[in-house]
Each structure stands twice: as structure tokens, then as C-alpha cells.
């Protein structure tokens, strides 16, 4: 090779390096619902199947967009955590989607989306089909996770995906939350092996994907708080203060092994502060997926406000027109004494992180009979977060804790 050609190669490589650096991004050490990311997590996806007495049927509409000007691929995983005999299935179904530049798409969990170029204009399937998306089975309760990949199926840190999940009841009620985006460090993604996604990028460490939050912060109505608007302005539908508000929290571990179908377990601690600055605490264990009413954390059973019968959930009381299931929980109005509270949710030191979404349900005292279901309205939102697991556990005996998402190897 001549000297001149050698110089060209050297300069050319330098030029490539400059271009790569210009294209590469520096990520903030966080998961986010404000910006697009490389892993999208929809922690709460439901398709309950047909309604049962006093319990509306709920289904989920997923929206995902490619925020870049390039074709984007994503490998998506439905995690069915439906409980059978009290044990979560943790069954994985995966599929791949392709989105052209800036393309939005959507599908309904119960229906999926087939590839059908002849979908009529203005109908549900109209548009460039992103790929064949399977429907979920009746009773599905779990999460959806989408990992940005390249054309070969290797994880790619483009940070180009954003999404939302809307849960709709058959009575028309809706609630919606943003998907949680885990941002990648494109300089280090894919790692080796490429199917193992390490969530170890933090303020103190250059890693592949941003570390999960250390603490989630949740402002919420306390369990059983009387709805102030119905109580004041529509008393006829809140007689005997029977228009409670409940908060439901959904937690999924950040660590997931889709290759070996091995669910992770995380113990989380709750620190609750009421409006009088009084502090309370509780804890629970999340086994692969957990969605629960806050009062369920420390009070599995309660009593129906109508007849005092033992109950597990409001459903037990509503279906027999016996009011609502009141629990003696640390999260309940009777204990906290104020209508709202601030709860911090932190995993114990040795465990990995969790991702969270919250939903509150507002009831009125419309006693349902066999023709009624609507006595509630759901509202979802994204809790806030602070810190990250990597840095927070750096000085722990076995720290730092690194969450890992393992996707199936190609074959």
C-alpha cells in the first residue's frame, strides 16, 4: 500500500470516527416517560375477557411511535402474569415490529394486529402494518416490553421509541399512562453477549442501558378517602360517605430473563408520609409482576362497609350490594387521617429495581345490580422517581446491583 493511500485510510477512519461521535448520543442516567428510549416498558396491560357481574371488562390499546427519521425495529415481549391458583404464569410471547420514519402505530391487546394490506381506509388496521402482532388470551394481565433492535435482531441503542397504553372499560371509561422508556448508551450497545442488556449506565458508570430508579415517589389519595367532588357537589351519589378512592400500583422487576423464562423477585419497602408529616412503613415482595391495591400490601382482608362480611376486594362487596371492602391498612384513611399521602417505594439493597405505574379508581355509591356496572372511573399516571439502583447500591456488600434483561438468543 502506498504511503498516500495509507494516509487516506487513516484520515478516512478519523473521519468516520468524527461522524460516529457526532451521531452518538449521551444519555441521561434515568428511565423516563418524557423522552424516547431503546426499551419501552408498558407495566400494565389488561384484557380481562367478558365482564362479570359488577366488574367491567377492560382491554388495552397500545400506541408506539418511531421518533427518528430511520426505519426502526423492535422485539416485543408480552409477559402474561395472570395468576392460576395464586401462581403467576409468567408466560412469554414475543413478536417483532418495524416502524418507518416517524411512523406511529397502534393495536388492541385483545385483537392484536394482522398484516393485511387491504384494510379499509379509516378502520382499525389501516396504515402500514408494523408486523404480525398476536392477540393476548382472555384474562391476560401483565406487561409488554419492546426492545429496539437492528435488522439482524441485535439490540440497538437508538433511543427512538415512545409509547402509551390506554385501558378502556366496556362501559366507556378510559385511563392512560405513558410507557416507561429505558435509554441506551449507544456507544456501548450492543454489549457482549448482545442478548444480555445490562442496566448499568449511571452517573458514576458508563454502562449499556440506564439503571432503573432507586426510589419511586407516589402522591396518592389514601385508601378509602372520600371523593371530595362527589361528596360536596353530588351528595346523592355519596350517601354515608360511600364514594371512596382507591390507588392501585403495578410493579415489575427491572431484571427479566426471557431466555430461560426465569422471573425475578424484588422486595420493596414503602415509606408513607401523610399530610401531618407522620411517617409509616410497609413492605411487599414482587414476584415477576404485581398489581395491587395499596391497602392489600399489609391488609389482605377487610370488611364490607354494608354488612361487615369479610372480603378480599371491593368486588366481593359490590356484587352483593354491600358497599365497599374497607381494610385496616397502613394506607387507609382510618390510619393516615388525611386525604392524601406521599409514598416512597425503594427496593431492599440486595435486590434489583422495579418499574411502576399507578392507577386510581374513583367510586360512587351506584349500587350495581345485574344490569349495572358503572360506578367507577379509573385514572392512570406515571409516578416520579429519584436516584438509580447502580449508584445507590455501589457501597452495598454485594453492590452494585445491576439489573439485566436477557432476551432469547437468535438461532
Amino acid at each position: 500500500m502506498s504511503k498516500a493511500l495509507g494516509m487516506r485510510c487513516v484520515w478516512g477512519l478519523c473521519g468516520v470516527l468524527v461522524c460516529v461521535l457526532a451521531l452518538a448520543s449521551v444519555t441521561r442516567a434515568e428511565v423516563s416517560t418524557d423522552v424516547s428510549g431503546s426499551v419501552l416498558v408498558f407495566p400494565k396491560v389488561l384484557w380481562t375477557g367478558p365482564m362479570t357481574l359488577g366488574e367491567p371488562s377492560r382491554d388495552t390499546v397500545i400506541e408506539i411511535s418511531n421518533t427518528s427519521n430511520n426505519l426502526v425495529h423492535a422485539h416485543c415481549f408480552y409477559v402474561n402474569a395472570q395468576r392460576v391458583n395464586g401462581v403467576p404464569l409468567w408466560q412469554i410471547t414475543d413478536f417483532t415490529i418495524w416502524l418507518t420514519r416517524q411512523q406511529p402505530t397502534h393495536w388492541v391487546a385483545s385483537q392484536g394486529r394482522s398484516v393485511n394490506p387491504s384494510d379499509s381506509f379509516g378502520t382499525d388496521g389501516a396504515g402500514l402494518d408494523p408486523g404480525a402482532i398476536p392477540p393476548v388470551p382472555f384474562g391476560f394481565e401483565g406487561e409488554l416490553k419492546c426492545v429496539q433492535i437492528d435488522a439482524s435482531g441485535t439490540p440497538f441503542g437508538g433511543n427512538n421509541l415512545k409509547g402509551e397504553a390506554l385501558i378502556r372499560s366496556d362501559d366507556g371509561d378510559v385511563s392512560k399512562a405513558n410507557a416507561i422508556a429505558i435509554l441506551a448508551n449507544p456507544d456501548l450497545v450492543p454489549g457482549d453477549p448482545s442478548n444480555i442488556l445490562r442496566l448499568d449506565n449511571s452517573v458514576l458508570n458508563d454502562g449499556e442501558y440506564n439503571s432503573c430508579p432507586n426510589t419511586w415517589m407516589l402522591d396518592h389519595f389514601v385508601d378509602g378517602a372520600t371523593n371530595p367532588v362527589i361528596e360536596e357537589h353530588n351528595e346523592a351519589w355519596c350517601s354515608d360517605d360511600e364514594c371512596p378512592i382507591r390507588t392501585y400500583l403495578t410493579l415489575v422487576p427491572c431484571t427479566q430473563d426471557f431466555e430461560n423464562v426465569s422471573p425475578a423477585t424484588v422486595t420493596v419497602q414503602f415509606a408513607i408520609v401523610n399530610e401531618l408529616e407522620q411517617v409509616f412503613s410497609a413492605s411487599t415482595t414482587v414476584d415477576c409482576y404485581s398489581t395491587f391495591r395499596l391497602a392489600d400490601v399489609d391488609a389482605p382482608t377487610g370488611k364490607c362497609s354494608g354488612d361487615g362480611d369479610t372480603c378480599l376486594s371491593d368486588y366481593d362487596c359490590i356484587q352483593s350490594s354491600d358497599g365497599f371492602c374497607e381494610k385496616a391498612s397502613v394506607f387507609s384513611l382510618g390510619n393516615l387521617g388525611s386525604s392524601t399521602a406521599f409514598t416512597r417505594i425503594t427496593p431492599v439493597d440486595v435486590d434489583g429495581g422495579v418499574l411502576a405505574v399507578a392507577e386510581e379508581v374513583h367510586y360512587n355509591n351506584n349500587n350495581p345490580d345485574d344490569t349495572q356496572t358503572t360506578n367507577r372511573a379509573w385514572a392512570a399516571w406515571n409516578p416520579q422517581a429519584t436516584g438509580n439502583r447502580y449508584d445507590a447500591t455501589l457501597d452495598s456488600p454485594n453492590g452494585p446491583v445491576v439489573d439485566v434483561i436477557t432476551i432469547p438468543q437468535g438461532f
Partner: protein, 487 residues
């Protein structure tokens, strides 16, 4: 060929090959100083609503089937039957009411006593020839006396309060909070801390507006560089037995530690003298990013007929956008010194691109279809935000406000936004049986009005709402300023 020429040719050729063969270019994350994920120094609630079923244009605002001559006609009353829904009654307390109110939650996430200076902004518009009559661009022809125009309003009311260690509080916008929880009894700390201040009720009902709170020093009441506050707003609607709720996170703007300058009543968000924002080393020269350069939102197109529940439930959806400028002047009572132009770029599921634009002065709450058509339902079917025009159910819109001339680095004219969806929640069908006020379920077709029903009429016509925070992309050279009055 010189060595330099060779370098650039090889570099360009190599870069072209790299881009052509790569799966996608890496997406540059240009951080903004705005977040809904973390505690911040400034929290903004862009959409607050109060409506106690007022009489507007001869009909009650929340129960439009009921004619009225005054607000008292719209309050629950027993005249043999209840005035609002016709149900049987023996006294007024048997009769259902109707109201919309917003519950605001605000929390101090720190371990210290903190203070905020908050600004309610009443953005109601009023008739030019009847200043007490509230109107909108869509209804002023019917609610204002003949010849009246609808004049936009922007009236600010401010208050201060302290919050103790990690203390949450909540209040109704309609009622305010005359006494804070720890106003007279001490908190748990040592020495014990107390709440100071109170929260006024909405200055006008019906109320549409925003709330912005700035963290200030507890002693001097000047803005501080701490990021301790988070918040949420829940809007609750109750009309007879119907109930609806939606909730969103307040939008936060982060303070830069140690950046407060000697002009405490001017809060510089991004720009050359940034006091609020986040450091951005992805641009040359590095700068502090303030409010977002572009907003991105996934949304359903107006009128999209969404089928769910394995094909058994269908109903339409429309969306509203609440837009507020990032700059506000609470000292001189002007929200936005210069009217901002907002450019929209809309992509449907065919990857087809459309664009439109609108103007923002102080505050705008607008249905998507009204952005490029006349206010009100007329013409909505011809909007580029209409599902019928786009041909797909969902889209992604990118919103970019146009910056002003860069004279002093503070005419960024950036915007913040919130998306609210209205989903049909009435039930179609002549065969729907009413029992205890509710039709028989399951129903397969949901409706806003009778027009949405292929068969029968729309029972319990209404809507269910969601609010969701939009996402952010990038920042810009110029910053924005919030000007506040000092104590």
C-alpha cells in the same frame, strides 16, 4: 489531490457508507430542562377546571338538556321530580348534582422546610359587551349579547405556603385551602415545623386556567436553586350517577444549583444566563437547555372509531390540546409578550406527513380538529386531524414553536402542553333497559350523542377523559423568562 481534500472525500464517503449500511443513525438526545419524572423547582399544572353546572346561553353547562335562566336552575332541586335528571324525590338531598372540579396535589420531597410562591391564572374569556359572561371562541355567538366578541383573559392570583419535611398536601381548586394541615399543630421534626400560608379558592367559577409554583427561600422568599417539588392534578366530573376522572403529572422545570443571579424576579430558563434547565454538552458550545424545542405526542385522530374487547366494543374519540407558553410575566400581567407561532408536523400510520400551524398568546385549549378549522364542530371532518381525512386511527404530531429574534438570548417562545382525550361513554341502543339509572350491559356501541348510534338513541350520553403528558425533544439556543413579583 491534497491530503486535506483526500481526508474530506474519504470521510464523507465513509460516513455515507456507514449511514447507508447502518440500521439507523443514533438518535441525539438533547436534554431539556423540563421533566415530569423528577422533583423540580418550578411545577406547572397546565389544565385546571372547575364547573359547578352554571347556566350558559340558556342551558346548564354540564346538563345541557336542562334549560335555565340562572345558575340556581342548574343546582339539584326537588320539584316532585329532580330537576336535572327527572328521578323521583322527596327532598332536595335526594336529587343528584353535577360538577367538575380539580384536586391539586403538591408535595415537598425533601427533608427540609420549603416554601413555594404559586400563581393561579384565570384564563377564562369574557364577552366584550358583557364582562361577567364567560365565553369561548366556539360559543360566543350564542352566549354573548348580540354583537359581542369573546375577549381572551389572563388574570393572575398568587399565594405562598410552606411545606414541612416530605409533606404532601391537596386541595380543591373550587374551595382552596383556608387552613393548611400543620398550621396550628406541629409536625414531627425537631424542632417542629409548621405550615404557613393558605390557598385561595378559584377566583371565578366556571374556571379554566393554570397553576405555576416556584420554590423560594423560606426566609427571603426569593427563588432558590433547590429541586424539591412534585405535583399532580386530578380532574373529577360527577353528573348524577356518571363519574369520570383523569390525572396528570405537573410539568417541572429544574433549577441549576448555584446559578441564581442578582436579579431574583427574573427566572431565566435556559439561554445565556440560565438559572433553570439542564447542562447540554451535545452542542457546540455546550449550554444549558431550557424548555423543549419540540413536543411530540401520540394521539388518536378526531373521530377515530376505536374497536376493542375482541371486537365487541366500539366508540369514538376526540382530543384536546392545552398549550401554554414557557414564558410568563406575572409582574406585568402578560403571559407572552409576543404571540407565538406553533408549527405542527403530523404523521399518520402510512408515514404520510401533513402540517399546519396556529398562534398562541396566553393560553390555548383547543380540540385538535379546530387547529386548522373554525372553532366548534363545523368543518371538523375536513381537518387534517380528522380520522376521516387521515385514514388511520392514530398519528404522531410534532409541535415546534417559532423562536423570536435573538436579541438578548431570551425570546425562545417555547411552549408546554398537555393532551386530553374524550372518549364516548354513552351507550347506543333502543333496547337498553334502564335500571337504577343505568342501561343494560354489555353494550357494543359507545356514543357521545344520538348521531353516533347506528340503532336507537344514545343513553347516558357523555364522555370519559384521560390526560397524558406529552414528550419532549431537544432544547434551543434562546431561553425563556418567567418574571415574578418580589415580596
Amino acid at each position: 489531490m491534497s491530503t486535506k481534500m483526500g481526508f474530506w472525500r474519504w470521510a464523507l464517503a465513509s460516513a455515507a457508507i456507514l449511514i447507508a449500511t447502518g440500521t439507523a443513525g443514533a438518535h441525539v438526545i438533547d436534554p431539556t430542562g423540563v421533566t415530569t419524572d423528577e422533583p423540580t423547582a418550578i411545577v406547572l399544572y397546565p389544565r385546571l377546571k372547575v364547573d359547578l353546572n352554571a347556566c350558559q346561553g340558556g342551558f346548564c353547562s354540564l346538563t345541557p338538556d336542562v334549560a335555565c335562566t340562572g345558575n340556581s336552575d342548574c343546582q339539584p332541586r326537588c320539584d316532585g321530580t329532580c330537576n336535572l335528571d327527572g328521578s323521583a324525590c322527596t327532598s332536595n338531598s335526594d336529587c343528584p348534582g353535577a360538577a367538575v372540579d380539580t384536586i391539586v396535589q403538591l408535595t415537598n420531597t425533601s427533608e427540609f422546610l420549603t416554601k413555594v410562591h404559586c400563581f393561579y391564572t384565570n384564563t377564562n374569556s369574557h364577552c366584550s359587551n358583557s364582562p361577567s359572561t364567560i365565553c369561548t371562541d366556539a360559543d360566543f355567538r350564542t352566549v354573548c349579547p348580540l354583537g359581542g366578541l369573546c375577549v381572551p383573559g389572563w388574570q393572575e392570583t398568587d399565594f405562598r405556603l410552606t411545606l414541612t419535611k416530605r409533606q404532601p398536601i391537596s386541595w380543591s381548586v373550587n374551595d382552596g385551602l383556608p387552613s393548611l394541615p400543620l398550621a396550628t399543630i406541629p409536625g414531627q421534626g425537631s424542632p417542629p415545623q409548621f405550615n404557613e400560608g393558605n390557598i385561595p379558592a378559584a377566583p371565578e367559577v366556571p374556571f379554566t386556567g393554570e397553576l405555576l409554583c416556584v420554590e423560594v427561600d423560606t426566609a427571603t422568599e426569593l427563588p432558590t436553586d433547590r429541586n424539591d417539588y412534585k405535583g399532580e392534578a386530578s380532574t373529577i366530573k360527577t353528573i348524577a350517577s356518571q363519574i369520570d376522572a383523569n390525572k396528570y403529572n405537573a410539568i417541572g422545570i429544574k433549577a441549576i444549583e448555584g446559578a441564581q443571579d442578582g436579579n431574583p424576579n427574573v427566572l431565566n430558563i435556559g439561554g445565556p444566563n440560565a438559572e433553570y434547565g439542564v447542562f447540554n454538552d451535545q452542542v457546540d458550545p455546550p449550554r444549558f437547555g431550557g424548555c423543549p424545542n419540540v413536543l411530540t405526542l401520540n394521539h388518536f385522530f378526531d373521530g377515530a372509531d376505536v374497536i376493542t374487547h375482541d371486537g365487541n366494543v366500539e366508540g369514538k374519540v376526540t382530543s384536546e390540546l392545552t398549550l401554554v407558553p414557557c414564558q410568563n410575566d406575572y409582574l406585568n400581567q402578560t403571559a407572552n409578550g409576543n404571540i407565538t407561532t406553533i408549527q405542527f408536523l403530523i404523521f399518520n400510520e402510512f408515514e404520510q406527513r401533513f402540517s399546519t400551524s396556529t398562534k398562541l398568546n396566553c393560553y390555548k385549549e383547543i380540540q385538535l380538529s379546530d387547529i386548522d378549522t373554525l372553532p366548534g364542530p363545523a368543518g371538523n371532518n375536513f381537518s387534517i386531524f380528522s380520522a376521516g381525512v387521515q385514514g388511520t386511527l392514530t398519528g404522531m404530531s410534532r409541535l415546534r414553536s417559532v423562536a423570536g429574534p435573538n436579541l438578548d438570548g431570551y425570546d425562545g417562545r417555547t411552549i408546554l402542553a398537555l393532551l386530553t382525550e374524550n372518549w364516548a361513554s354513552g351507550v347506543c341502543g333502543a333496547d337498553a333497559t334502564s335500571s337504577g339509572g343505568y342501561p343494560e350491559y354489555p353494550a357494543d356501541q359507545l356514543c357521545f350523542t344520538d348521531d353516533d348510534c347506528f340503532r336507537g338513541t344514545c343513553q347516558h350520553a357523555g364522555s370519559s377523559t384521560t390526560s397524558s403528558n406529552v414528550q419532549f425533544q431537544g432544547s434551543r439556543d434562546q431561553g425563556d423568562q418567567i418574571i415574578i413579583p418580589l415580596p
